[in-house]
């Protein structure tokens, strides 16, 4: 083999890792700064959550609980999911509760609620309720307690108001009514909901997890113990698209959103380059562009490294 080629691959094999960092940095930063339209394919685990949440639309007797078990470090992946679910609930007039278990998540819940509610005429204690931060040691008693009486298990919301006196609690007593729990976490914390809220009280549990935690949660998804799962940023991008295409859709026939349809989702493309969709509602899809390029770069590095490895090994033999 040409000496120059061997020498090139020898150099490449021992390249300073800082060059790799620069390439990765640009491959992430450029797609974030210059968004482009790419196709978002919706998968079943995300679709199932959407359909379940949407089935509560306009129903006074049903509610969704969003459980936050993560801090700001995993926000880029999990925050767009949370905002999308809140947006879906507000668009479709679905009662939604939020709760968090670590102190660092408390401002995050406020931030998510503030981000989503500014476009809607919704009121705390009426359309949504933030139970606020509850210490992790109380997680088990609260999880179990909500199976009997939510107002008794939680007692006060984030503003110190008695939960039982809030208007949103009308017709909402326990997991029979607050029938869907979505746990957003960078860990396997959904397992606790499965063990206590699902196994004992039959609550529907869904998880929103970071991509690295997806494999850990797959067993529960396959058995149906998790009725759906947001799989990292991809899951968030899929939900953003579903909300755009169905819940936020407005026309003469459908003034308050349209029902889910597989045909419509296949045919519809939502451009993210214009101003049609506010930035906060397309963050995950823009992030997916960066993730796509970063994945391609990593695959390219793996291939390059292996080509170099085989060429130099051949020479050694």
């Amino acid at each position: 083999m040409n000496k120059n080629v061997i020498s090139f691959f020898n150099k490449i094999q021992n390249i300073d890792r800082r060059y790799i960092y620069i390439v990765v940095a640009f491959s992430i930063i450029i797609p974030l700064l210059i968004p482009f339209n790419s196709r978002t394919y919706v998968t079943k685990p995300t679709e199932d959550i959407y359909k379940k949440v949407d089935s509560f639309a306009g129903d006074e007797n049903k509610a969704v609980l969003m459980s936050f078990t993560h801090d700001a470090s995993t926000m880029p992946e999990l925050f767009p999911m949370e905002v999308s679910v809140l947006r879906h609930c507000f668009e479709r007039n679905i009662k939604v509760f939020t709760i968090c278990w670590i102190p660092a998540a408390a401002p995050l819940v406020d931030y998510a609620l503030n981000t989503a509610r500014e476009d809607f005429d919704v009121q705390s204690g009426v359309d949504y309720c933030n139970f606020g931060y509850k210490p992790y040691v109380l997680r088990l008693p609260i999880m179990l307690g909500m199976g009997d009486d939510i107002a008794k298990a939680v007692e006060t919301d984030s503003q110190g108001r008695k939960v039982e006196n809030l208007e949103i609690m009308k017709n909402i007593k326990n997991y029979d009514d607050m029938n869907l729990v979505i746990d957003f976490a960078a860990s396997g914390s959904a397992l606790q909901w499965i063990t206590y809220a699902r196994a004992r009280f039959g609550a529907n549990i869904a998880a929103g997890v970071t991509a690295v935690m997806v494999a850990d949660n797959y067993p529960y998804l396959q058995t149906g113990q998790l009725m759906g799962m947001f799989r990292g940023l991809k899951g968030a991008a899929e939900y953003e698209k579903l909300v755009d295409v169905f819940a936020a859709y407005e026309s003469e026939d459908y003034p308050n959103g349209r029902p889910f349809s597989k045909e419509v989702i296949k045919e519809t493309r939502v451009p993210i380059t214009g101003d049609t969709v506010p930035y906060k509602y397309k963050k995950a899809r823009i992030g997916m562009n960066a993730q796509s390029v970063a994945h391609i770069m990593i695959i390219f590095f793996i291939l390059l490294g292996n080509i170099g490895y085989f060429i130099t090994r051949k020479k050694e033999l």
């Binding site: 890792r17 790419s38 490294g305």
Partner: protein, 207 residues
């Protein structure tokens, strides 16, 4: 007595919780309500303990001027200032507390987590080699799953996301389930040992 009293508390409460899970009797429900009140009363002490511990650890570091003690000053200052901002102006949108969250904690935490991408890319390039049949299988699986995770995979071929899902649903699940069953059996055995007083190492003090 120092060991017997905690042991009696754990064994009694442990069996009561097991009973509560399986017997929906009024006594069982009342017991759980009583436990809830106790748990709520105890939890603030855990926070106080955490703050005390943080002050003791970092206070000692500052006092002894150990290497990098300056970071301890920043940690304690951050704790005091954030707590003060929360108590003084509240935690709602537009307050100094939320400003700190949005402009300090959020970007700094996300920056730390995002470093992972750089390490993964560098490690993949330097170490991910098809040196053996097993390493080649791992490498091919990683490439397929990575492509299956982004829209480009589906654009290249519908088989890529399907294969990626198959990898996660079949080989991944087989391995995960095996581990989980092992862990589950271990937890059950350890729990029983604790409930029956056989396992006592959590009490400290040897044996």
């Amino acid at each position: 007595m120092k060991r017997q009293i905690p042991l009696i508390i754990i064994m009694t409460l442990g069996f009561m919780f097991v009973a509560h899970s399986f017997i929906p009797h009024k006594i069982s429900v009342d017991f759980f309500d009583w436990f809830q009140d106790w748990a709520k009363a105890i939890s603030p002490f855990a926070v106080s303990l955490g703050i005390m511990s943080l002050f003791m650890v970092h206070g000692t570091k500052i006092k002894r001027k150990v290497p990098n003690w300056q970071y301890s000053v920043i940690t304690l200052a951050g704790l005091i200032f954030t707590a003060f901002a929360g108590f003084a102006w509240g935690t709602q949108s537009g307050t100094p507390y939320m400003w700190l969250f949005e402009n300090v904690q959020m970007p700094m935490s996300a920056t730390m987590f995002s470093l992972l991408a750089f390490y993964i890319a560098s490690a993949a390039y330097k170490a991910f080699r098809a040196r053996s049949a097993e390493a080649t299988v791992l490498l091919v699986a990683a490439v397929v799953v990575m492509l299956g995770q982004v829209p480009l995979g589906a654009m290249i071929s519908k088989w890529i996301p399907e294969t990626s899902t198959w990898i996660l649903n079949v080989p991944n699940l087989a391995a995960k389930r095996a581990i989980m069953i092992g862990v589950g059996l271990g937890i059950t055995a350890t729990s029983l040992k604790i409930l029956l007083g056989i396992e006592r190492t959590y009490l400290g003090g040897g044996d």
